[in-house]
Symmetry: C2
Subunit: 185 residues, 2 copies
């Protein structure tokens, strides 16, 4: 599937409320927030470790996963949220299908991460209410953009895998299936 | 697919950080928050109206959708988050597939709603930092639980629809396909 990442990022920003003002604000808070993100990543993996289903995805890989996660999390505050950003997030969704990660892991993970970020922001910027609202909305919006894009890619990849499975089970060739699908439509 | 809603709710709570303390806190803030939820719903649909892709899902149905949405949103603060809650959210995900809502609508919607709730909470409880952290984490966690469950149901329903499509196109009966799948495994 060819994907227009310019369209995808415009659409995802609108659907997450990531306005130009909030996007600019991410860069403003980045120097205050990013030094604490390691704590967010550590706490996230501590919580994952208490959930039995996540065990087999973590076992023996925690340190590697943590450093990839911290890079990804830092990117949310430091990268420009453009077509390249969309392409990177799209790849993350695709990888999640390839390693058979259940669909709900992405929404769950984003929720746990936002719980930590809420605490971090209010402890760091809590004295100024307007600043806190802007910071929390900016973070909520950019994690929302990332989640939307990862899930669109996850959905596309999992339907493609499902078709693969059908073809294997039925013994039908892809060409035959494609021709039948054309005739059917 | 038979679904164990007790297991599903326990799992989703763990994966969203909805602790018993935060769940109890939803009931504490409900009387302060729920009177303002109509404003959250109105603002959510105002923002949806600015996104071209949502047009065909909204046209002529806004008032009906708004009242269903407000009921659903109020439920997040007032219902016990138990197996029945899981079953209700599971149905919502299923309905989203039936009306052909794109997969990313749920994550996007939840992001827009959380943007509004962040503002509402900090404007209402902003003077007490610890109270604000607890309230925002409770809301983020319960919307996370709802999203996780809706998406699991959405995924199950869309794979089922995909199989349906495959059977139609290939002309294969469900019985034949099921028998082949058994032989294949």
């Amino acid at each position: 599937m060819s994907q227009n990442f310019n369209e995808l990022i415009t659409y995802s920003k609108a659907f997450s409320g990531l306005t130009p003002e909030l996007e600019a604000h991410l860069k403003v808070i980045a120097p205050v927030i990013t030094p604490h993100l390691k704590r967010v990543t550590d706490s996230f993996y501590d919580q994952l470790a208490t959930i039995p289903v996540t065990e087999k995805f973590l076992s023996g890989r925690i340190e590697h996963l943590k450093s990839a996660h911290l890079r990804w999390l830092t990117d949310l505050f430091t990268l420009n949220v453009n077509a390249q950003f969309a392409e990177a997030m799209y790849k993350v969704g695709d990888i999640h299908v390839k390693v058979n990660l259940p669909v709900e892991f992405m929404a769950g993970a984003m929720t746990l991460i936002n719980n930590e970020l809420i605490k971090l922001v209010l402890e760091t910027l809590g004295n100024d209410n307007n600043e806190s609202i802007k910071a929390l909305q900016a973070i909520n919006a950019v994690t929302g953009v990332a989640l939307m894009i990862m899930q669109q890619s996850y959905q596309a990849s999992s339907l493609a895998e499902e078709l693969e499975k059908f073809l294997k089970i039925s013994g039908m060739s892809r060409t035959l299936f494609t021709n039948l699908a054309k005739a059917y439509n």
